[in-house]
Point group: C2
Chain length 197, copies 2
Amino acid sequence: MIYKESHALILNNIARFIDLTELEKQKYLSLLTDIKVKKKAFLMQAGDFAKYEYFIIKGCLKVYTLDEDGAPYISMFAVEDYWTGDMASFMTKEPTPYFIKATEHSELLGISRANYDLLFQEIPKFERFYRILYQRSLVSYIRRSNHGISLTAEQRYIEFKKKYPKIVNRITQKDLAAYIGITPEFMSKIISKVNRM
Amino acid sequence: MIYKESHALILNNIARFIDLTELEKQKYLSLLTDIKVKKKAFLMQAGDFAKYEYFIIKGCLKVYTLDEDGAPYISMFAVEDYWTGDMASFMTKEPTPYFIKATEHSELLGISRANYDLLFQEIPKFERFYRILYQRSLVSYIRRSNHGISLTAEQRYIEFKKKYPKIVNRITQKDLAAYIGITPEFMSKIISKVNRM
DNA sequence: TAAAAGTCTTAAACTAGTTCATTTTTTTTC
DNA sequence: GAAAAAAAATGAACTAGTTTAAGACTTTTA
């Protein structure tokens, strides 16, 4: 069976952890929705109810919150082959505190809450897929939050650049500052210092 | 069927997400190991291979890493009804970067890696249990790391005290500082300031 | 393609948090 | 229950990162 590109990509992502039969693949794909967002458009805004969890086929999005003073804090940049959304809101059906905004024209596949529940009923193997996916995310989150706290902003920038060399060149310095957790001014100083080294 | 206290506690924790038959309960309990650690003793040290994942029946433990300068950073305090361990090392069979040290005499139940794998084979319902457990941990980790970065140390202390009022009174100020991510001296200043308010 | 809007740079004055050193208080140990 | 060890408090000098402001450079939009 030949699948369109977006479907081949998501099946490939899932095949990392579980094997599906042809029938299961088709069933799964039927539960997904195609979504496109233009650059600067929002996929989600604070106060919304997270209707989908998303898989990114193409593009780049930033996931962020605003603090009391309205300053953004970016928790992740989501690019090709990443999963994103607000799992807390998706699960609890409470409003999200997040904004998700496309920094490039992007294409995604979404699974709705109703279809997510249906998925576990129809193809219980997906419990295993998500168990492993969440386990791995948890490990990398723990590493990140553990690692981050004792490093200086300069060290965090150097690590980010090493870990995500492709992403650094796709985002603005301002957004990078909001991810690293410093002001754009200080980000500018760090970058020119690191480049001089 | 009547279970000993530690078994009743862990079954209760599991019953939050899945229902087990009597037979499954007995099978599950047979896969667990009783563990005791005295105050100041290590459950795990950096360089060890994480042999178990732990459920805490009684006591309090701190999970921490040391940075290059040997300064501790505490990532969690684990008390009654919590799960702890190093999942990354447990899964990948690589050495752990963590120390887990009892701050009180503690009793735990452990599941070994071999039995964890066996568990999913014998009682597939546990895929669901762990999927939900990891999903929830992920949500609270994301919230914590998101929340933490933009707050001052004083605000982080106030939040911690509000969220874990019982834990605050069981740990030293020094350990609290290592959790908040500041020096014990500055922690001391913050506490006396907050008490004066 | 010109104007407007947004991003980046630089610099001076400021603040949250660190470091180091000393004393007091509390806890542990024999 | 005395001695030793660890934790907590206090203060002065220091540093990483913020704030504010202004000008230069780039990207977007009409």
